[in-house]
Every structure is written in structure tokens, then in C-alpha cells.
């Protein structure tokens, strides 16, 4: 218990030190507000423009979650195909790794050009960013099944479908959740990157990514900071939601979900 308190206090300590240093930089450096706004100004602008902020957040959160869910469904299906058909896996798996290495910032404008600006292309960009970690991790989990467990199922004359659903899929859940956690973190980044390029139907109104470019062009740096904080928060919340599901699915049986006594 004391350890928890200590962890919280040290975390808060770092937070307040950063705020202090921040004010010192502004005070000593004499930076203008549009270069580096003070934390309090950022909070003020966030409250003043909370309607805009929440509107932007809702748009980005929706596309991020949609893109993530599509990538989860599609990624798991592809992983199952990869696990069941090694030939397909050997042919296509390298390309999923290549897909992961393509810088999304570079291809986002292309996707928008092909699909058209709007929520569909932003969701698609999010999907592309999210899908590879899910494919890679789930495939790994599906195929790395203990040899003895496979033999056990064979000795019971289990069908291929039974081996898939009763052995491979449950065996893959821990690594699927690792992939989902990575993708959840990427989903808000994907949505924001997509929005940076799509613009908006109405001036000043759009997702977080669009609002960031807009605030930047208007030199509303305090609001820009508020938007960045909001984006970070969105990513964190999505990751925490997945971690909750991870706990829900695994805490009964899996080592990773067991409470760890930090030392």
C-alpha cells in the first residue's frame, strides 16, 4: 500500500516539476504566448472552446473506434486464414510486414485522393494503421500451440474446426490482446493523421486532426495544445478500454493478467 502511495506521489512530483519548469521557461525566456502558452492559458482555452473541442473529439473518437473495430474483425479473420492455410501465410505474410513499414503519413494523401475526403477515408487510414499488429500477433498466437496439446486433440479425434475453436483461438487470445492494445494506441494517431489531410466541409469544424491544422494556421497555440492534450487523452482512454477487456478475458487463467507485485 505504501508503495502505491509512493508511486502516486512520485508521479505527481514529476507532473508539478514539469509545470514549474514550463513557467520558468516562459518567465525567463520571455517567450510570446503564440510560441509557448502557459498551462493555465491552455486550460482556459480548452474551457472556452469546450464545445468545439468536444465536437472534434467526438468525430475523431468515432472514426478511431470504427477503424479499430474493422481492423480487429478483418485482422482476426486474416489471421485465422493464415493459421489454417500455411501456403497462404507464406505467400502473403511478408506483405503484411511491408504494409506495416509503409509510412502512413506518406500514403494518407493518396488514399484521400482515391477514396475522397471524408470520414470514409479517415476510417480507412485508421484501419490500415491498426490492422497489421492485429494480424501479426493473432497469427503468432494461433500457430504457436504446444505440441502436446495438439497431440491431445488428435488423440481425441478432434476435427479441424474443433482444434481451431477449442485450442488455437483460446491460445491466441493473449497475443491477440497485445496486438489490440498496440492498435488501440495507433487508432487515434491514424484518425488524426487522416484528418490532417482531409480538411473539413465547414471551416473550423472537423476532427482533432483538422482542428490542429486550423488552430495552427490561426496561431491559436493555446487551443492547439489543448487539442494535443485531448488527442493524447483519447489514445490513452482507448488503450485503457482494451486493457480492461484484456483483464476481463485473461485474469482467470493467464500469467500476464495476474496482479504483479511491483518491487
Amino acid at each position: 500500500m505504501n508503495k502505491t502511495l509512493y508511486n502516486i506521489l512520485s508521479g505527481l512530483g514529476v507532473f508539478f516539476t514539469v509545470i514549474l519548469v514550463w513557467y520558468l521557461i516562459i518567465g525567463i525566456g520571455g517567450l510570446p504566448r503564440y510560441m509557448l502558452p502557459a498551462p493555465l492559458d491552455i486550460a482556459k482555452s480548452a474551457i472556452e472552446k469546450s464545445d468545439n473541442l468536444l465536437f472534434a473529439l467526438r468525430i475523431t473518437a468515432t472514426t478511431a473506434i470504427l477503424g479499430f473495430i474493422f481492423s480487429l474483425i478483418f485482422g482476426v479473420l486474416v489471421a485465422i486464414i493464415f493459421a489454417e492455410f500455411p501456403l497462404v501465410r507464406r505467400m502473403l505474410y511478408p506483405y503484411t510486414v511491408i504494409l506495416q513499414s509503409v509510412p502512413i503519413v506518406a500514403i494518407a494523401p493518396l488514399i484521400i485522393m482515391w477514396v475522397g475526403a471524408g470520414p470514409v477515408s479517415v476510417t480507412l487510414v485508421t484501419f490500415i494503421v491498426c490492422v497489421t499488429p492485429i494480424i501479426a500477433n493473432t497469427t503468432q498466437g494461433l500457430i504457436s500451440v504446444d505440441k502436446n496439446l495438439q497431440d491431445l486433440f488428435l488423440m481425441n479425434n478432434a476435427s479441424r474446426a474443433q482444434i481451431l475453436w477449442k485450442l488455437r483461438v483460446p491460445n491466441a487470445i493473449p497475443s491477440l490482446m497485445v496486438g489490440a492494445r498496440i492498435s488501440a494506441g495507433l487508432s487515434s494517431i491514424g484518425a488524426i493523421v487522416g484528418e490532417l489531410f482531409t480538411g473539413s466541409n465547414r471551416v473550423g469544424e472537423g476532427g482533432l486532426g483538422y482542428s490542429i491544422t486550423y488552430a495552427n494556421s490561426q496561431l491559436q497555440t493555446d487551443y492547439l495544445f489543448a487539442l494535443v492534450a485531448c488527442s493524447t487523452g483519447l489514445g490513452l482512454v482507448l488503450v485503457f478500454i482494451i486493457m480492461f477487456f484484456e483483464w476481463l478475458l485473461l485474469h482467470n487463467w493467464h500469467e500476464s493478467a495476474r496482479p504483479v507485485d511491483a518491487d
Partner: protein, 256 residues
Amino acid sequence: MQDVHPPYIKLENLTKRYANGNVVLDQINLDFQKGEFVSLIGPSGCGKSTLLKLISSLTPITSGSISIDGMQPVNAREIMSFIFQDATLLPWRTVEANVGLGLEIEGIPKFTRLEKVNSLLALVGLEQVGKKFPRELSGGMKMRVSIARALATTPEILLLDEPFAALDEMTRDRLNEELLRLREKSGWTGIFVTHSVAEAVFLSTRIIVLSANPGQVAQDIPVNFPFPRTEELRLSTEYEQMVTHVSRSLRAVQKL
């Protein structure tokens, strides 16, 4: 009397060669009668585990043949259960669901399954832990669950691949006694791979000593202690003598 029956399990000129050309088992000829408990013992690399995998058709035969109650091994899986070296439980399933796995795969309805599972858990003394997950159990308890799972499908043949190797000696002795008790109740034929001479002598009606490189039958030793065998057998002179005898055969094989 045994000669009257045709052998229950018959291995003829059984040879297993790996892809790299290594001959693991060379021209094995062995007969097993129904109700026997046969231990396979030998130096590492003699192919005793491979022999179990061949009988269960988990690895293909290079040449020769196996017949189990007149069937090909792959068709005889229905009457066989395999107990692995580790408990090999599914960590995401409760003890109950682990024991019921074979029945579930067979498509037996849940209600019937649960009845059978509970009676088996009672049989191995684990009725209290049915709802627990494997990680909450000790090594010995996990192995009991594994035994219960193997018996759930009421096998006629039980193949055991060093099931107690990872357990401490006390637990091992107790599980040995329990295994004999279970065998008395359900009368399966056992083929048991082990490193422990004492264990083999205590459990078996017959011990087969294999030599290595390539694996061949070196000795076939009957063990005629009457059943039920209890802890007291371990203290008797005859038992000591038998252990010494088997140990000598094993050492002779290892020298080669």
C-alpha cells in the same frame, strides 16, 4: 493361458527412422496382452517415447506394422488415451472443463458430461477443485486432473509417457498407488514409459528394457507380484531384488 488369446497389441518388425536418417527403433517385435501393464525402460534415445507415439499414430511408421485389437493405430484412437509428461491442461479451462474435454469433442451433452466428470474427480480425490483453473493447482494435482481427463473417455488402453517424471518422490509414490487402484477399477491395459526402475517394478506386470542406437528390445522381464500392490511391497526383499535385477539389465544395455 495368455497364449490362448491372440495378442491384443502386436508390433511387427516396427522401424522408425527420422528424416535425418537416424534409426530410432529397429525391427521391434512385441506382443501385449489385454490387461497387462507394461513398462518401457531404457537409456535416453532408445525410442521408448517414440514407441508410444507410433502406437498412438501421432508419428508415422517407417516400416513394419502395428495392430491394436485388429485395428490400425489411427482407428484405435477411440479406445486409447494418452497421458503426457506434463499435465498438458488447457490453462483457459477450469479443471471440470479440462476433464470433460474428450467427452465434449465426442459431442456428449453437457449434463451427461458433468455427471461423468464429477465422478472422475471424486475418483482421483479432486472433487473440491472442479471450478479452479490449472494455475491454481500443484504439480501433483495437475497430474491427477490429467489422469482423470484420460480416463473420462473410458479407454481400454492407456499410454503414459513419463507422467510422473517432474514430480517429487512422495507425490510420485502416491500417484503410483493411485494409478494401480484406478487400474483395478477400470481394467485398462497400460503401456508406461519411465526412467525410474523402482516405479516400473512397482506398477508393471512386465518390464521391457530397450537398448539405444538403434532402439531394440534387450530384455523382457515379467514382474509377478500379486495385486493389489500396496506401499508394503516397496519394503519387501523380493521387490528390492527385482529392482536390482532390472537395474542391472538397464546398466548392461547402457554399456553397449
